[in-house]
């Protein structure tokens, strides 16, 4: 017995030494290469002025702003498009997934064809298709098409009315009330009714205040000269990325929802029928709340995938984090540091989203733990 332990122990020690030795050699080799190519090392470049600006950012970015600020702006862009894609994918995926479980075989086949078509095409190709469509088929900048409610579509993107001042406050309040309502629904009876009621009333008051004086509190896009001025413009790159990723994600989310709905025991459907509930009511009140529970882990995986796929902005020219880091890499030559930054950010976001979704599993109906 002692003999085998010593042999095992020696083998492990040797293996560990070989690994450490290989790592040390690799680090030394890299440092030598960096010295030969006269590339600087370390993260000092982050505070130097970037010398480039992005085509669109949440907050204004100047040429003199540092690389760190440019990277942060890229991260903001990535988050923006990932959020839009996740929302779109969830809504569309819900519809298509429920269509896959419909009673009529026609709807099942149609939704099935949708899912199969999208899953068998590369996501890069779908993004390029959407971009070519938005650039090619959209009306030219000089003659934008009015879509009603103050929205305009052109090759420069989708121009929406932008709230400023109190209107922004009102919309923020509405959004907050909506989130509180969703939380209350998820946690069922534990949110006191007074909180929910207060949230709704205050949001309604703010909304009425804002809407009563539209001109002063909204920046409406107006045709001025050769293009539009004012408003909030969603660039064609953002639209292509959000729509393309949204549709791509929706096909996978549809499959997740289909599997979750089909995993609910057949007896539940029969009980609904016995109670006289029609299909829609049964789905809404009995099946979907139970399906949400089993759908959450694969849904987490799909949201993480969508977040990773937001890095494809570089393909359509959207300045996301990876695109900005690529520019920084080309300018400073410090490839290792930039790639390390991208890795750390993505892994951190991975962890954050996975942790949040696991926590929210506790609130899903039917879970054993009380919120």
């Amino acid at each position: 017995m002692r003999h085998r332990l010593t042999r095992h122990g020696a083998a492990r020690l040797l293996g560990g030494l070989v690994l450490v030795g290989a790592l040390v050699l690799m680090v030394l080799g890299v440092r030598e290469q960096l010295r030969i190519r006269r590339i600087a090392s370390g993260f000092a470049f982050l505070s130097e002025p970037a010398g480039f600006t992005l085509s669109e950012t949440l907050l204004p970015l100047d040429l003199k702003d540092s690389y760190a600020q440019a990277l942060l702006a890229g991260l903001g862009n990535s988050m923006r498009v990932a959020l839009a894609a996740c929302v779109l994918a969830t809504l569309l995926g819900l519809v298509v997934g429920l269509g896959r479980t419909a009673a009529a075989p026609a709807w099942r086949r149609a939704c099935g064809a949708y899912v199969e078509t999208i899953r068998n095409l590369p996501v890069v190709l779908q993004l390029m298709l959407w971009y070519a469509l938005l650039i090619g088929a959209a009306p030219p900048l000089e003659a934008p098409r009015a879509l009603g409610a103050g929205m305009y579509l052109s090759k420069g993107g989708l121009a929406l009315p932008a709230p400023i001042g109190p209107a922004a406050l009102a919309l923020g309040g509405l959004g907050l009330a909506g989130m509180l309502l969703a939380l209350a629904w998820l946690r069922r009876a534990s949110a006191p009714r007074s909180t929910v009621a207060l949230a709704c009333v205050s949001a309604a008051v703010l909304a009425v205040l804002a809407w009563s004086v539209p001109g002063a509190y909204w920046s409406l896009p107006t045709p001025r000269g050769l293009s539009l001025a004012g408003g909030w413009v969603l660039s064609p790159e953002f639209l292509a990325l959000a729509l393309g990723l949204g549709m791509y994600g929706s096909s996978y989310i549809a499959e997740v929802i289909r599997a979750a709905v089909q995993a609910v025991p057949r007896g539940q459907w029969e009980a609904c029928a016995a109670l006289g509930l029609n299909r829609v009511a049964c789905l809404r009140r009995v099946i979907l709340p139970q399906a949400v529970r089993s759908a959450l882990p694969p849904l987490t995986g799909q949201y993480l995938n969508l977040m990773k796929n937001s890095s494809l902005g570089v393909v359509v020219g959207y300045p996301d984090l990876v695109g900005v880091a690529n520019t920084a890499m080309n300018q400073t030559g410090q490839a290792i540091e930039c790639i390390a930054i991208i890795m750390v950010v993505f892994l951190g976001l991975n962890l954050l989203v996975a942790r949040t979704m696991t926590r929210s599993e506790r609130w899903a109906p039917g879970s054993a733990a009380l919120p």
Binding site: E116, P122, G136
Partner: protein, 321 residues
């Protein structure tokens, strides 16, 4: 009721698309006619003009026949490998022979491979190398040795948490710094990136398969005197691979779609070749038609594979597709 509603919805939505794509379209490679028909009609003439570039990349026209033969050879080999009757050791010899035949067919043009042939080679070589790398990864992941266990787990979690774009950039920019002595061509670097990326995903699939094998089999093998590695080689891994084949094929489909990303690092796969064809200013407004043609090609490559995965699932597990 269902069929009429769906048919009506589809007709309403697809009528303008059909008008653009079929009724008013131009089928001859004539830029003037295309310009006259746009934007009401599609310009399929661009596809008629550019399909050699898309399919074969930068190869000169005399070599197109060789590339087409190479593609047919690869399709034939893949078709043979798909049937379970062919899964024996001789299949590896067949593939080795096929690889040699491919180099002979391509002859002096082997360095100029592009388009469809490049996509297929990248997928096949990348997935094969990735699978070979995945086996030691999964063995290390399930080993008792804490160093091996942690190192493999770190690698898999790291690679799975990153987008493919990042792995491609790392391979293109960091590899020359790490291993300067190797002086790899861009194609070799990209193949290595695909192999490293797919290895993590394959190893997770294999790990899931290994975990479903009953513990009693390992104990029986130990009783027969087989070592840990011998048990894996003879008992566990063959069963795990067979059980997880549908999931592995799904990963191969994913790898095929991921090769479309190499256009970012400048390689001329199907996507890159289309960008090459679009470099001609006269045809640039018709990019949409080019992407639709590319979509059709990718669909024709991926859909049979996904049907094959479902057929495998039904055959080996008897479960619903």
């Amino acid at each position: 009721m269902g069929w009429t509603a769906v048919a009506a919805a589809l007709l309403w939505a697809l009528e303008p698309v059909a008008a653009w794509a079929l009724a008013h379209a131009v089928w001859t490679p004539d830029p003037a006619a295309c310009a006259a028909a746009a934007p009401a009609g599609a310009c399929w003439g661009f596809v008629a003009h550019a399909y050699p570039t898309i399919l074969f990349g930068t190869l000169p026209p005399g070599a197109h026949g060789r590339a087409a033969l190479g593609v047919a050879l690869l399709f034939g080999l893949t078709g043979i490998s798909m049937h379970p009757r062919a899964w024996r050791a001789a299949l590896l010899l067949l593939w080795a022979g096929g690889a040699a035949a491919l180099t002979v067919i391509l002859g002096p043009y082997s360095t100029q491979v592009g388009g469809l042939l490049l996509t297929m080679c990248l997928t096949l070589v990348g997935c094969a190398s990735g699978f070979l790398l995945a086996i030691p990864l999964v063995v290390g992941r399930m080993a008792a040795n804490p160093l091996a266990h942690r190192a493999c787990r770190l690698y898999v979690e790291l690679v799975r948490g990153l987008p493919m774009v990042t792995v491609l950039f790392a391979a293109s920019y960091v590899l020359p710094l790490l291993l300067p002595a190797l002086a790899m061509t861009p194609l070799a670097r990209v193949t290595l990136a695909v192999a490293l990326f797919e290895a993590a995903y394959f190893s997770e699939v294999l790990r899931a398969g290994l975990q479903t094998i009953p513990r009693g089999q390992m104990e029986a093998a130990a009783t027969l005197g087989l070592s840990y590695l011998q048990t894996l080689r003879v008992v566990s891994l063959p069963q795990a691979i067979r059980k997880m084949l549908p999931a592995l094929v799904n990963n191969v489909i994913g790898a095929l779609k991921a090769t479309s990303l190499v256009v970012i690092v400048g390689l001329q796969d199907l996507n890159g070749a289309l960008q090459l064809a679009l470099g001609d200013a006269g045809w640039r407004p018709y990019a949409l038609e080019g992407y639709l043609f590319l979509g059709l090609l990718y669909f024709m490559l991926c859909y049979p594979l996904s049907r094959y995965a479902r057929w495998l699932e039904r055959r080996f597990q008897g479960g619903p597709s």
